[in-house]
Amino acid sequence: MALSNYRRDMEGCSRCSSCKWVPFNQIKSWQFAKNCPSICRYNFHAYSGSGRMIIGLSMLEGRSELNDTVAEIIYKCQLCGACDTACKVYRDDIDLTEVLLELRAHCVEQGYLMLEHMALIDSLKREDNVLGEPKEKRGEWADGLPLIDINTERCEVLFHAGCRYSYDPELRETVRGAAMLLIEAGLRVGIAGREESCCGGRAYELGYRGEAENYAEDILSRVKASGAKMLVTPCADGYAHFKYLYPRMGKEIPCEVLHITQLLERLIREGRLRFREEVPLLLTYHDPCHLGRMGEPFLIDWKGNKLERPMSLKRAGRKGEYEAPRNIIRALPGAELVEMERIREYAWCCGAGGGVWEAFPEFATWTARERIEEAIATGADGLVTACPWCVSVLREASREMGTDFPVYDVVEMALKSVGLPETARA
């Protein structure tokens, strides 16, 4: 694809600014009415979904040129998809996120790169992860757990930990617990351990498409070889890329793909996983963009006039996963769920995505702080989410704010109630 392939999308922008707001039916207050961290932080129209489309059109028409300033504007965006959802409330013919992704690919093609992103891609090429950690340590998170090594044995469920869970010591107990919960439920769970690689989704988001394709090939071959009937991941980013990006690149995963929350909910429903302990907390849930609106499965690459595209083929975020994590929270004895104002398709982003945390960390935590404020406004005892990137940046923001407002992973909550097996402890 090229930027010019999205010319009709960009020309279609009416500059109505709906992309800057929570869909209007859902605006509940002055304070939490906006949906786009980028335009809220930087204010110029160029930092909105519409503004970036206009940048693309302006460049296509030769009115302006790509330069360092423009590239930075393009990258100061979490690719959270909130603008796209808001736009698609009204429009059938604009795929805003696709344009944003194409702008990044254009930057890479033209050599306008963020130094921090280059370091990330370099880490990917050398160590197969986006965190600059050594490849040989990737499987250490699972040391001592009764998991199948898919490099030597076939399995029923392939557990893809993802980069952040594999290396972040603060999240180790969560990822070990996630795997143990599946084993507790009687599943034969395999991992690639040291051989697990990044899903490649972050590379795609940064505009490095060749790298993304390579990693998709790698994951695909590993899934096939494992014989797994199910690929499950606790990483919301990975989940979205498996569900959307891979099929879009023509690399559909040949088995069921689930996020850990979807599988846990199923196991609870089937009685294979039982909550025992009370969790007497009032909790609010943060929808990770990549599990929610961005986790909507790939439908079809519509080639015709998008004005005539059937509604059922419009990717508007509705088919993302919103209920599974909430159902887990609801199933916790003693726990109560209270909602923030911006939820589901119109949730405010945590701030970490799209390469923002790597290149513009202050903007990432600025975004996360707003989410913490929104969570505190509910009166909840803590915020629960279902993505390692969200957990990490929200915790960092909470620390920065000095609030000590707790941020949990859904898996942590499940473990509290199931009773954490000793072997799961890091």
Binding site: R8, E11, G12, C13, S14, R15, C16, S17, S18, W21, P23, F24, N25, Q26, I27, K28, S29, W30, A33, N43, F44, H45, A46, S48, S50, G51, I54, I55, L57, S58, M59, E61, G62, R63, S64, E65, T69, V70, I73, T85, V89, Y90, R91, D92, D93, L307, E308, P310, M311, R318, E345, Y346
Partner: protein
């Protein structure tokens, strides 16, 4: 393409000092975010003049300083609030765009006196959400909840479906803080006397007529940084609980709200019924509608198919033509029952029928938020990407129905030619004011700006609409289009000469961008049929004012 008009380094540095370095830009790609203004813009290019810089002031003082910088350096300024529509963009080559989005606070809600004080970047949806928590509501304009209530009240138009109960934008204005084109600050109304914001006309200066006239100066006379607006009673819940985003909405419908879709056998019965509704003083929101316009709004895919089917086309265009939508809101069960009984009696007397849609949950949910918050309005972009409007005017309800028929006839011709999208032609935006005797009508048409045939149709169609308006002694969108202004002003007492004089008095150094206020330009008459041009010439010759006064 002749683009580069640049700002001097000295002027740019002063703008940086005025608002801070992070709040000013002259990056071409950033500036183009302000130059792309396709909505209600019949220029096929869709780009307006690119500003030489954009600034994001955070306070009234910063706005004043930006305006002074423009005065010192021979630059012009153009301010906008939320930036909806072509009126927001520059019309000169040396314009500093003032984007007011950092001035975004609701400063005060005086519940007892039904007054709110807002800054420019508060949008209608935000204000309504906060007002409803306090049992109050605000007028939201027809362009939708994304728009700034301050902008429509001080600088533009303020027409909407809630006009029957909440009137229109500038009628709700209770005072304003106004940065004049030379940077001085003027407070209009009682707020200037330190007595609060209860009155726009004093004690304190009352300059509403000069300040905004009929249609607003659209930043051509300065920048408004605060204003007070009247609020209204909202006897519903503090927050209407809705699942879903729009078409999938499921709402908890309060039992003191009813929404009736009414149909009448002919135009006269519809007109008479609405006058009776006005005399009965019932209704919270109301508009004329047709089933076709609902289908085009909510199901354009379906309409594309229906448009090809002669039978359905006839049914929708004629059988369900004379429709009227009205929302009733009662402060008590007795009141809502009274209002509904009155409505049913009026409908019956005029041989109409009605469907109470709140009982049909999927439709009722959609209608509730669509009308209360005007949330469905941006669907006007859905059919082809863009829309425009013509024949904007205010007059009696009866004559507005005539006007809608004129618009429908003109549109039908252009639909047949393939110049605009087929929405079955009958699609006026109509609203009632207060007791219903006075109403608003503008004819909406949709097009796809990516279709060259549509682009080529825009200006000649607009001229045709305008000629039709002039022939009927109507005000055809004249206040905002510099071509219409030039054409119409001589027929209307040379009103624009007065606007120019006001502009010169307030703005001796010509710092404000007056393109949308009092500038004039010629239409490209070569694009229209000679017979139309001849018709126009005959009217202009007959009715134009001379220096001695009106035509004999």
């Amino acid at each position: 393409m002749t683009l580069p008009h640049v700002i001097s380094d000295d002027a740019y540095k002063e703008l940086e000092e005025a608002v801070g370095k992070d709040n000013v830009s002259r990056e071409p790609a950033v500036l183009d975010g302000y130059a792309w203004q396709p909505t209600i813009n019949d220029d096929p290019a869709k780009w307006v003049k690119r500003p030489v810089a954009v600034v994001l002031p955070g306070s009234t003082e910063e706005v004043q300083e930006v305006v002074r910088v423009c005065n010192r350096h021979g630059l012009k300024f153009k301010a906008f609030s939320t930036g909806w529509g072509v009126y927001s963009g520059p019309t000169y080559d040396n314009v500093v765009q003032i984007d007011l989005r950092r001035m975004n606070r609701i400063l005060d809600i005086d519940e007892k006196n039904l007054i709110v004080v807002v800054e420019p970047y508060v949008c209608g949806a935000q204000l309504q959400a906060e007002a409803m928590k306090r049992g109050l509501n605000c007028h939201i304009i027809g362009a939708g909840p994304v728009c700034s209530p301050l902008a429509s009240a001080t600088s533009g138009w303020g027409v909407g479906w809630d006009g029957i109960y909440m009137s229109y934008g500038h009628r709700n204005l209770l005072g304003a803080e106004w940065v004049l084109p030379n940077g001085e600050l003027l407070r209009v109304g009682s707020c200037d006397s330190g007595l609060g914001w209860f009155s726009p006309d004093g004690p304190g200066p009352s300059l509403r007529g000069l300040m905004r006239g009929s249609s607003g100066a659209l930043s051509g006379l300065g920048v408004f940084t605060k204003c007070a607006l009247k609020l209204y009673e909202w006897p519903g819940p503090p927050q209407i609980k809705v699942d879903g985003l729009l078409l999938d909405a499921k709402a908890e419908i309060p039992d003191n709200i009813r929404f009736h879709l009414c149909f009448f056998p002919d135009r006269k019965r519809l007109a008479d019924a609405v006058y009776d509704i006005g005399e009965a003083e019932i209704g919270y929101l109301a508009t004329r509608t047709s089933v076709a316009s609902f289908i085009y709004t909510f199901a354009p895919h379906l309409l594309r198919n229906i448009a090809k089917t002669v039978t359905f086309r006839a049914l929708l265009s004629r059988g369900l033509k004379w429709g009227f939508a009205i929302m009733l809101v009662g402060a008590s069960r007795d009141e809502i029952e009274y209002q509904e009984a009155v409505l049913r009696a009026i409908i019956s007397e005029h041989k109409g029928l009605s469907i109470e849609t709140m009982q049909i949950i999927p439709i009722g949910s959609m209608m509730l938020m669509n009308f209360l918050r005007v949330t469905a309005i941006p669907l006007v972009f859905r059919m082809g990407g863009l829309f425009s409007t013509a024949l904007d005017r205010n007059d009696t309800w009866d004559s507005q129905l005539d006007w809608a028929e004129v618009g429908e006839r003109i549109k039908s011709k252009w639909i047949d030619r393939g110049g605009i999208l087929d929405d079955l032609a009958d699609n006026p935006f109509m609203a009632l004011y207060e007791s219903n005797m006075w109403a608003h009508c503008e004819e909406i048409f949709q097009y796809d700006a990516r279709d060259p045939k549509h682009l080529a149709s825009l200006e000649p169609m607009f001229i045709e609409f305008s000629i039709a308006a002039i022939e009927r002694s109507m005000e055809p969108f004249s206040s905002t289009d510099y071509r219409m202004r030039k054409l119409v002003s001589p027929l209307m007492g040379n009103y624009n000469e007065w606007q120019k004089k006001i502009s010169e008095s307030f703005d001796p150094s010509r710092a404000a961008d007056t393109g949308m206020y009092c500038d004039e330009m010629d239409f490209d008459f070569s694009k229209i049929e000679p017979e139309l041009r001849a018709r126009l010439n005959r009217i202009v010759e007959k009715f134009k004012w001379t220096e001695d006064g009106p035509p004999s």
